[in-house]
Symmetry: C2
Subunit: 333 residues, 2 copies
Amino acid sequence: MFVSEIGEFGLIERLKAIIERSDETVNVGIGDDAAVVTYNRPVVMTTDAMVQGVHFREDLIDAFSTGYKAIAASVSDIACMGARPMHALVTLAIAKDTLVEFVVSLYEGMRQACDDFGVTVVGGDVVSTTGPLLVSVTATGELLGEKPLLRSGAKPGDLVFVTGDLGGSAAYLHLMEHQSTAILAPEDVAVLQERHQRPLAQVRMGELLAHFEGCTSTNDISDGLASELHEIASASDVSILIEAYRIKTLPALRHYARLAHVDALSFALYGGEDYQIVGTVRPNRSGALLAMCELQGIQVTLIGRIEDASPCVEMMRDGRRIELKKGGYDHFS
Amino acid sequence: MFVSEIGEFGLIERLKAIIERSDETVNVGIGDDAAVVTYNRPVVMTTDAMVQGVHFREDLIDAFSTGYKAIAASVSDIACMGARPMHALVTLAIAKDTLVEFVVSLYEGMRQACDDFGVTVVGGDVVSTTGPLLVSVTATGELLGEKPLLRSGAKPGDLVFVTGDLGGSAAYLHLMEHQSTAILAPEDVAVLQERHQRPLAQVRMGELLAHFEGCTSTNDISDGLASELHEIASASDVSILIEAYRIKTLPALRHYARLAHVDALSFALYGGEDYQIVGTVRPNRSGALLAMCELQGIQVTLIGRIEDASPCVEMMRDGRRIELKKGGYDHFS
């Protein structure tokens, strides 16, 4: 059934039933001119849009996962500021001949992400467009520590850390676009697909860092490690040196890279959509950071250090020091 | 020059310079993963999207006014909850061949609205699309009174009030779509155009109502008076009776309606985009409401009353009681 058959108000009723969540911080939820929510601390807010054919390909990601990722992307930005993600508003622009099932599945994916990350959708807007589907998520959260974690606090001598493994999402995209999945073991395909379709925003790590003494900067990895490091270098007015062999990638990614004759590291450096947190820590606090993450079951790796030089990002690889370009996606170039 | 020639980051720098505003409630503004703002009271939040060709026609409204209206529409939702609008996030989806000048003018309009309504844009997302331009504004504000003003509090016996005059925006659209502007005096055209292009969100009225004892419900008029009254009737489980002769329209609108042989009242009832506030007040407080608005220079009119019956909206006109359909725009029908 097309959305045109049930109409705007019929559609909104369906979506409301999927996305509404019990949440004691919500005084007024979906249904009035605006929502009313309770905050006891400074409010952290961000918005992030995804357009079909630009940010995702309908044939490579299903509606459920698209919804999941849309929430995860905004939540990730909140978490890496040292804040607890709490509420979201969703704008959806779709064509009149979109299937109701598709939209329902999209919202079911959003609901799953909301449950996983502890976020409640309190409102939104559903509009028609003659163009490709667009989903835009505004997320808000509560600042946890005294100050937010910014990109701008890195100092020479600080060490660079990153959570989890990188490049899996990009490797899956590359596989689907350039190869047959038959070249890779099914379990490897499944692992990469999981990275692409169900990225885990680092909510717990954001909470821990907010209260951790000695974390000097953070950035979430949406555009690839190189691009995010450039943002820290530029905002902090420092240079960054990382070591290639320290960057964690999945075995499945390395298997694929070998079979497809591509550089495994390029997925980590320039792929994006990992939604891990990269940041810097004072050197005398790096042991405490590792111990805390170990205790909490969060994978974290030290991959480099901050140097006192004009903003740039370099990488040691096979004994050579090479400069990393910013990379990342430019929407208009 | 096309946006593709200056690239995403070049464009964002230009837009940031236009939209950034000094605001002591903003701890972290545009430029990091998220913004950080200070709230001392519950947070009111809403989002509203406009799509070219659906919500506006490029040939009938310029970029500046489109930006102005996008901010006004979201701010209006915040104000009518009894809250002070404070911050906004803007999502913009545009084609690569959009002119930089167009986008700059759009943001200059947003900036003007922000200055007029006391709102600061603290972040956003600019993405490319192959479809029509979409601008989505999330606005947040601080609740002023003890409780928000909802659609659901109207009680039998309450009187219905509405601010300003209605239908001017819709009349301008009708004029531009169906007639030559030559049929109307230039000063009348200018007045209607102003209503269409620079709607004034009722920020001051929202503040006053928040602290006014006896306002039982509110709704902002984005979809036409009839549709908004239906929402109050439905949410409050009451029926509403209004009197046609009490509804305020502009002389320019009436001149146009007479010349174009259309019913002047239909613009007020079914036009929309007035961004006035319609609401209900306890009968023993209606005099105080009128006095307060008189003192503050805000035009307000009592147009009807709440009755104890199943939700519906009726209007007395020329001695006859007629039922008003909901009307309003359905995006998917």
